[in-house]
């Protein structure tokens, strides 16, 4: 079949070799005074509704630092997005592609997926690039002696689950009143959803409530059977640990089966606008945790509008600025930038390697004064890390959707460390023995 003439084949061969050459050339980096920030995001797939605002917030803040401050002490920020689709293998691909970019390699990775975090954790010990998992990731990675490169800043899922149990305990009039009650966990069938189970089982043993585990398979659109089972079992409370479209589907199914939304409590990743708006009026009364940053606009938002959006450089829609996940993206970017700034104090005002950035992340002390200076007043909680504690103090509040906005309840919840710390220690030890990791000596390393 004379499909391709000889010249066509020749040009095809040339094109292929040209493409290969280009690929090779892509690895040659310009040596400039730049700090490279990789951005693992998902703007397609079932989790896009939640991934998009977070990525927009993150990228907008990086753009703001460049536009308003000229970079971090003169070192400009460059970034590149990579689409992971919330899939672990694509996340690993993106990681491998981006980890060597920039004059000193990638600054830090925010996988925004517990599954990808699990995979990258193993690589971190050889690659020496920090993995910042603000409010997600491995719960035991608080222990910096074992997980030297993971930073679950702001809290982990054990903290979140603990706080929710405390909240429903408060509602019942005391944790002891939980005895004999039923709490259902509707969770995303992935490492993200499975993470809180250990703590909930521990608390169930302590207080005598029955824990009902109801996994929902990705993408989470089929929940009819789950909610029929909830209707059959009639739990007193439902904890929602969903992501992406699973959240809005859960609330819609709760409406369809008549489960009171006031008794539903979502983790901080199940409490954003894309989760409640699709259910319309039915979502009124739904509660969720909110940590780090609630919805709203503050000083930093005004700056972003002024320096980024008014100049036509905005990443997303202007109306989305100030939503819960957008603000969380801002906060995540902010802690990374501040870590670089802190590390620059130690290592000099130049592009820093992942190892140096890790020092900054381990010596973070963002207090109220600093929060105000950065323009995050009301949208950030103080964080101070150390070698042994990679998360800082976890705290959160409860917010309720009133149909139009999130209403944050007064009163701050703290996780009960007396239960969580031993669990972290055992789990981290187990990981260290399984993977043959030598623990770091936190006393020796300049902490």
């Amino acid at each position: 079949m004379k499909l391709m003439s000889n010249s066509a084949m020749l040009s095809a061969a040339l094109a292929v070799s040209g493409a290969a050459a280009l690929l090779g050339a892509a690895q040659v980096q310009a040596q400039a005074k730049e700090q490279f920030f990789p951005v693992l995001s998902y703007r397609t797939g079932a989790y896009a509704p939640n991934g998009i605002p977070f990525a927009n917030g993150y990228v907008d803040y990086l753009k703001l630092i460049d536009a308003r401050d000229g970079g971090i002490n003169g070192v400009k920020i460059t970034f590149e997005e990579c689409e992971t689709g919330y899939a672990t293998d694509r996340g690993v691909e993106c990681y491998e592609r981006l980890k060597g970019k920039g004059p000193t390699g990638a600054t830090a990775f925010h996988p925004l997926s517990t599954g990808i975090t699990f995979a990258l954790t193993d690589k971190s010990f050889t690659d020496h690039i920090p993995i910042v998992t603000t409010g997600y990731g491995r719960a035991d990675s608080v222990d910096g002696a074992v997980f030297g490169w993971n930073f679950p800043l702001g809290g982990t899922y054990w903290d979140a689950a603990d706080m929710l149990v405390q909240e429903v305990g408060k509602k019942e009039g005391g944790l002891d009143k939980l005895k004999g009650k039923k709490i259902a966990l509707v969770y995303h069938d992935s490492p993200y959803g499975k993470e809180p189970i250990a703590l909930l089982e521990e608390r169930a043993k302590m207080h005598g409530f029955q824990l009902l585990l109801l996994p929902v398979t990705h993408p989470g659109v089929e929940q009819k059977a789950t909610w029929l089972q909830i209707r059959q079992q009639r739990p007193d409370y439902v904890f929602l640990w969903g992501w992406g479209v699973m959240n809005s589907t859960a609330i819609k199914e709760a409406v369809a089966t008549g489960y009171p939304r006031e008794k539903m409590y979502g983790v901080w990743w199940s409490g954003a606008e894309p989760d409640v708006v699709p259910a319309g009026d039915g979502a009124k009364g739904y509660n969720a945790l909110v940590f780090l940053a609630p919805a709203g606009m503050g000083q930093v938002h005004k700056d972003i509008i002024k320096y980024v959006y008014d100049k036509g450089q905005g990443t997303g829609k202007k109306e989305e600025i100030g939503e819960v996940l957008y603000n969380r993206g801002l906060a995540a970017a902010m802690v990374t930038v501040e870590a670089v700034r802190k590390a620059q104090v130690n290592y000099g005002k130049k592009p820093l390697t992942g190892m140096q950035v890790r020092w900054g992340l381990e010596n973070l002390s963002i207090d109220e004064a600093m929060i105000k200076k950065l323009g995050f007043e009301g949208f950030m909680t103080p964080i101070s890390t150390s070698c042994v504690n990679h998360a800082g103090e976890a705290q959160a509040q409860i917010e309720t959707w009133d149909g139009k906005k999130w209403q944050v309840h007064p009163g701050v919840l703290h996780a009960d460390n007396s239960i969580i710390k031993p669990m972290i220690r055992t789990s981290a030890e187990k990981y260290a023995t399984e993977k043959k990791i030598t623990k770091r000596d936190c006393g020796k390393e300049s902490g």
Partner: protein, 334 residues
């Protein structure tokens, strides 16, 4: 006759026993049992809507349209996005027009060049269409979750409160869905039996060569078939979209319609309905009643039986009765 068909009979009996078990053993309250049954029937109706499209296209052109799920999604996206700017009925009409154009293009670009290839090649071609439409649809319409508001109340209604303790929860939306599906089936039946085009379609389904030899234009018929399938996809899309919200995952859920056509028979629209209902009910029943038992016995990390129930049931049917319940016995037995 029973002797020859004993595997089928056995399967049928097993299914019926499985269905009756929760009620018979008193493992569940009768009111709740009916709720699960209704829930399963409603899910089944949704599957049938997608399966009908499969059956139509296979009936008329022998092509297994893997892209039916994506067509449902595409139609739903079109309606949802356009309804943001114009009244719903206008959006639906416009979406119908788009589906007809799509049908025409698919027939022209994909099917006509492949007309003499075996079924597997056509299956893979429709797989290619799936991927193409997935990407294209999301570029044009976006990947957020979109709403289709049919104006039906979402809150459930309690009925028969005095007969069963606590009453039975029914959903108005589900009823409307079932109603629309029934009307669609009736309309299709009338179309196939009474109109000349419908008769031509059945002739083509029977024997392409013979139909051509009496002057039925094959290419035009295929465009019509794909358009009708597109219309069915549109109805399915509107109903699914109104219930679940229009988003990318719809096309993956629609994959479940494959076992439905296997159960019902590839060439039978009635079979799609019956198969869909069986699978819908079977799924929900097994998930709600069998699931917890399995979890306890085998210490499983949660249920999720409905992920594979439909497929395994289809597999069993393939082994005992490949032509499905209502299909024609033209499968090559190996």
């Amino acid at each position: 006759m029973l002797k020859k068909n004993w595997p089928v009979a056995l399967l049928g009996v097993a299914l019926l026993v499985g269905l009756a078990l929760p009620l018979a053993t008193g493992a569940s309250a009768p009111g709740f049992y009916i709720e699960v049954l209704l829930g399963g029937l409603m899910t089944g109706v949704l599957y049938s809507l997608v399966a009908m499209g499969f059956a139509l296209i296979f009936k008329a052109s022998g092509v297994f349209n893997f892209a039916q799920g994506t067509m449902v999604l595409f139609a739903a996206l079109a309606v949802a996005r356009m309804a943001e700017r114009m009244p719903l009925w206008a959006a639906i009409l416009l979406a119908m027009a788009i589906m007809v154009v799509l049908a025409f293009l698919i027939e022209r670009i994909v099917l006509r060049p492949l007309v003499n290839q075996e079924g597997v090649a056509l299956l893979m071609a429709t797989l290619g269409v799936t991927y193409f439409l997935d990407g294209f649809g999301q570029i044009v319409w976006g990947s957020d979750v979109y709403e289709i508001n049919l104006g039906i109340a979402k809150e459930p209604v309690m009925i028969l409160q005095n007969v069963f303790e606590g009453g039975i929860l029914v959903n108005k939306e589900d009823f409307v869905a079932a109603l629309i599906a029934t009307m669609l089936v009736v309309a299709l039946a009338i179309f196939f039996q009474k109109t000349p085009t419908g008769r031509a379609l059945r002739a083509v389904a029977d024997d392409h060569q013979a139909a051509q030899s009496i002057g039925i234009p094959l290419n035009r018929i295929w465009v019509i078939v794909w358009s009708v399938a597109g219309f069915v996809a549109l109805v399915a899309g509107v109903i699914w979209g109104s219930k679940l919200g229009v988003q990318f995952s719809l096309s993956q859920v629609a994959l479940k319609a494959l076992p439905v056509v296997i159960l019902g028979g590839f060439t039978s629209v009635t079979g799609s309905i019956v198969g869909g209902l069986i699978i819908g009910v079977g799924e929900k029943m097994s998930e709600v009643f069998l699931g917890p038992i399995l979890v306890k016995t085998f210490d499983l990390a949660g249920g999720g039986i409905e992920n594979w129930f439909a497929y395994v049931l289809a597999l069993l049917f393939l082994l005992v009765r490949p032509e499905g319940l209502f299909g024609e016995k033209l499968i090559d037995r190996v």
